[in-house]
């Protein structure tokens, strides 16, 4: 198996007779070098600036909308009231998606990493399938579930949306599980084998606990990704009563935060009527960014502990 960290580079050695041969005067070379460094620093500044501009924009507009009642009352009409039912709806749909995707993703990662030998064809094909799945446009995933579930049931539902989101999450969970299992030392497996422990006991008792930090992190990141995903919900879960709390995703459309933002935008009459959408965007962004920061901190800690 090839991976970034173990890649042999001998076959790609550069042409040493080329740009490394000192030519021209040293001052010119130093000037070119300086120019490139400044350009790289400027690029990094632009990248960070993009994040800062979007986040401050959302925070400054969204803070005006934020209040206790905004978070605890249901939406009234399309533009009025709060976002309590949309928050709960997002929790229900994304929670259901996680219930589907996380176990399947972990089992798939286990299969690739623990149950196939190195260089196995099956594992290679499976990794290819997961990569392709991860590269799918999410709106195409939405149309797939529309054809599979919505047309069959003659009805859009939170369940259909959740299944679509689970397809977005699955490759993320599987990939991160497989990656962290690579970091579990082989000596743990060999020790278990030497003791004559069944493989499933070893996985349950030794390997999974050692990898748990990374698996949880990967799942959190996948959930954060799904929480902001809009295209599949637009296709499979766009028909709902925006003013009620809908906790049953089966056979009912469920109002969600992304669809609330889109609804407010489509029905807005002027800049003032967008306040609710900014508030919802603020809440969504805060949750997603905090989940990301938390997951990264956890990952760093568990990597350090495993010496990865």
């Amino acid at each position: 198996m090839t991976s970034v960290s173990e890649a042999p580079v001998a076959d790609a050695l550069p042409d040493w007779s080329g740009p490394l041969t000192p030519s021209g005067n040293l001052r010119r070379r130093a000037a070119v070098n300086r120019l490139v460094e400044v350009a790289a620093i400027a690029a990094a500044a632009i990248g960070v600036a993009m994040l800062v501009i979007v986040v401050t924009s959302v925070v400054s507009h969204g803070a005006k909308a934020l209040s206790f009642s905004f978070l605890t009352t249901n939406t009234v009409g399309v533009l009025g009231g709060g976002i309590a039912n949309d928050l709960l709806g997002t929790a229900v749909v994304v929670g259901l998606a996680a219930v589907i995707a996380v176990p399947i993703g972990i089992l798939t990662g286990l299969y690739v990493s623990e149950m196939t030998g190195p260089g196995s064809r099956t594992a290679g094909a499976l990794k290819l399938a997961l990569d392709l799945m991860q590269g799918l446009p999410t709106i195409v995933v939405g149309l797939f579930i529309y054809g599979l579930i919505v047309i069959a049931q003659h009805k859009e539902s939170g369940f259909a949306g959740a299944v679509a989101l689970s397809i977005v999450m699955l490759p993320l969970v599987a990939r991160s599980t497989q990656e962290v299992l690579l970091l579990v030392p082989g000596s743990l497996r060999e020790a278990a084998d030497a003791l004559g422990v069944d493989r499933w006991r070893a996985i349950r008792g030794v390997i999974l606990p050692a990898a748990m930090g990374g698996i949880v992190t990967g799942s959190i990141l996948a959930i954060a990704r799904a929480a902001g995903e809009t295209a599949p919900l637009l296709i499979c879960n766009s028909i709902f009563n925006p003013n009620v709390t809908q906790l049953n995703p089966f056979g009912h459309g469920v109002p969600t935060i992304p669809m609330y933002i889109l609804g407010v935008f489509n029905n807005a009459t002027g800049p003032e009527s967008l306040t609710g959408a900014w508030g919802a965007a603020f809440v969504l962004l805060a949750v997603i960014l905090l989940a990301n920061i938390g997951a990264r901190l956890m990952l760093a800690r568990s990597r350090a502990r495993m010496g990865g």
Binding site: M1, T2, V4, V9, A12, L13, P14, L20, V36, E37, A39, A40, I41, A42, A43, A44, I46, G47, L51, V54, S57, P103, I104, L107, T108, Y111, E114, M115, T116, G117, S120, L126, L128, L132, M133, Q134, G135, L136, P137, T138, I139, L143, F144, G147, L148, I151, I167, S176, G186, R189, R199, R201, A224, R225, A227, L234, I235, P258, I288, L289
Partner: protein, 315 residues
Amino acid sequence: VAGHSRARQPTGIGDRVLFGLCALAALLAGITLVGIAYQIIHNAHPAISRFGLGFLWHTTWAPNFKIFGAGALLYGTAVTSLLALILAAPLGIAIALYLSMIAPPPVRAVVGPLVEMLAAIPSIIIGFWGVIVFAPFIQRHVEPALHNVLGFVPLFGPPETTGLSLFTAGLVLTMMVLPIIASLSRDLFLTVPQDLREGAEALGATRWEVIRGVVLPTTASGVVAATLLGLGRALGEAIAVLLVAGDLVQIHASLFQPGATMASLIGTQFIGPVNTLHVASMFYVAGLLLVIGLATSLLARVIAGRFDVQRALAR
């Protein structure tokens, strides 16, 4: 890779059960891909048999007259994605070089995650910000300036009133693609062995000469693959583009005119289809998107060769 002991055949009943469960889950992942292709083609069939391959270049999209062609959508997708790549690839590679070669470690530890965080912002929020804040800014300040300087090129025509245009869509996509290219390239640059870099430095190479002579040549295929993965993201983005592109299914010479992409069109019109052929045509468009997306992923994988670029995307 800790090796030989992993391939052991399952023996006990518990082993068999776990093996079966895992194989089932893995099978499900494989079946899903096939299922997606089947569902899309099955539902697109009426449109495929009606319009055939001519669908690809006919530019009229008139649901009320049952005339559908994806030409204008392919054009919009190509223009926005190319614009995003032209801007994001150099910028992303420069950021990656800064993070891997130039920045001191404490700065690295802060700037790296910040750039990656950009990828975590949901498309609905980038799109909403784009249409309310960014598009008016572009329309007032950037488009007139470009028109004044480069107006003799038809691409840079006079600005419209809203700022909702393929140009703005391309810029918004740039923001979404940039963190992907930057973080994947940074990981690649970090794999260049220290010996090679130090060898070049010992020969008297400046940092730029090390980058040009050692770092970029040894990672070139991986960087191209990373850029292709960014392209895949740009091609398939529906929500952000449908908000900022202006939703007009026509081809105009000027980038500052509104337009639509394949994904954005499905996002706007799927909810209120006019007739069944309209729905089938949108599935046909989704099929094209699926083919282009899969081809991009596969090409990235082939080009990347020994680099396993996609692994880093899952983080």
